[in-house]
């Protein structure tokens, strides 16, 4: 059971991200966009530009093959 919490930030680890863009493509509300910031693997990092649209489905975290994504919530995490 989840308590009501609001996603305040979605962190992308620039050292771990390999730029596969599964997060960009699979987010149901298109929270991510490809930025012009280059990560450690020499790829343009995805950036969670529209966190306000996030419905906290967790898909980006689940699908990220490189455990680079962390959804940061306010009002306590999962109960």
């Amino acid at each position: 059971m989840r308590r009501r919490s609001i996603v305040v930030k979605i962190d992308v680890d620039k050292y771990l991200c390999k730029g596969c863009y599964i997060c960009v493509d699979k987010c149901p509300t298109k929270v991510f966009e490809v930025s012009s910031v280059i990560g450690d693997y020499g790829i343009f990092l995805p950036e969670a530009r529209h966190v306000d649209r996030c419905v906290d489905c967790g898909i980006c975290e689940l699908y990220c093959p490189d455990y680079a994504i962390t959804i940061i919530r306010s009002g306590g995490n999962e109960a």
């Binding site: 863009y21 689940l62 990220c64 093959p65 490189d66 455990y67 994504i69």
Partner: protein, 279 residues
């Protein structure tokens, strides 16, 4: 770094000094995440004791899935993971033995061991990562590659029909057999949990994307998310295994019969009743 996963990583991985070896968008990394989440949920729901885990891997990209984890890990030779795992399970029947192996590893070079491990019903839990070819060696045909597909060793098309690992396992008497596909996260995690709690031999085949070889050559799509979509298109849920133009996914069998380690230990105990060995 995702803190949930980080919790389960071996020190150099947790400290960020080492990263997985997989190509961008590879399904192997996703399966690693599913495995960790399955264990994490089991620990919280059932008090699953993960200190009893022994993980044995084959050789191939998929054999690298558990390497970053802080469990006891044995990297077996190519094709021999089930043999090593059987040795572990026999001498430590209370341990939880998990095998990660690729389709080439488990079904081609290790095929004989698969047959006999299932026949014996050794209580080993196998996660078969089927990317439809040999990833590690650079995209050659595997026993799971669809007929006519182009790979680096079938430049004019694959002349051989593929093998359905699940059908084989069911026919040999495997007591848990399921096939899922990487985009179905919930089902994959649920199935890993069932596998870990199962008594006896269990097989979870996970269809997984290899964007750089399978994506590019076998199916002609190289964007990882699009291969995931493609997988959803070619699979259909069923209670019977089938591996053709449509690949059936789902749980195919789930029952129990006496395990090899149980039978073996009852033999040992009976033999000892007849008088202990003396030099």
């Amino acid at each position: 770094m995702n803190p949930l996963i980080q919790n389960y990583l071996r020190s150099e991985y947790a400290q960020g000094k080492r990263r997985t070896i997989f190509c961008p968008g590879c399904g192997n990394g996703i399966i690693l995440g599913y495995f960790v989440r399955a264990i994490d949920e089991l620990k919280r729901e059932d008090g699953f004791d993960d200190s009893k885990l022994y993980i044995v891997t084959g050789i191939g990209c998929s054999g690298n899935i558990p390497v970053p984890l802080k469990y006891n890990i044995i990297r077996a030779l190519h094709g021999r993971a089930l043999s090593v795992a059987t040795g572990v399970k026999l001498v430590r029947p209370d341990s939880e033995v998990v095998v990660f192996a690729g389709d080439g590893d488990l079904l081609s070079i290790g095929g004989n061991h698969l047959i006999h491990t299932i026949r014996r019903n050794v209580g080993i839990k196998v996660i078969l990562v089927n990317n439809m070819l040999y990833g590690m060696t650079g995209g050659q045909v595997a026993p799971t590659t669809p007929m006519e597909a182009i790979t680096h060793t079938t430049p004019y098309g694959n002349p051989e029909p593929p093998l359905d690992a699940c059908k084989l396992a069911v026919s040999l008497g495997a007591t848990y057999v399921a096939r899922w596909v990487v985009p179905l996260a919930k089902q994959c995690i649920q199935s890993i949990k069932e596998l870990l709690l199962h008594r006896g031999f269990g097989l979870l085949e996970c269809l997984s994307q290899c964007p750089v070889y399978q994506g590019r050559y076998v199916i002609g799509i190289d964007r990882p998310s699009k291969i995931m979509d493609y997988y959803l298109k070619i699979t259909v849920v069923s209670d019977k295994p089938s591996y053709g133009d449509k690949i059936t996914i789902g749980k195919f069998v789930d029952y129990e019969r006496p395990t090899y380690e149980e039978i073996m230990w009852s033999i040992v105990n009976k033999a000892r009743e007849g008088g202990n060995y003396e030099a």
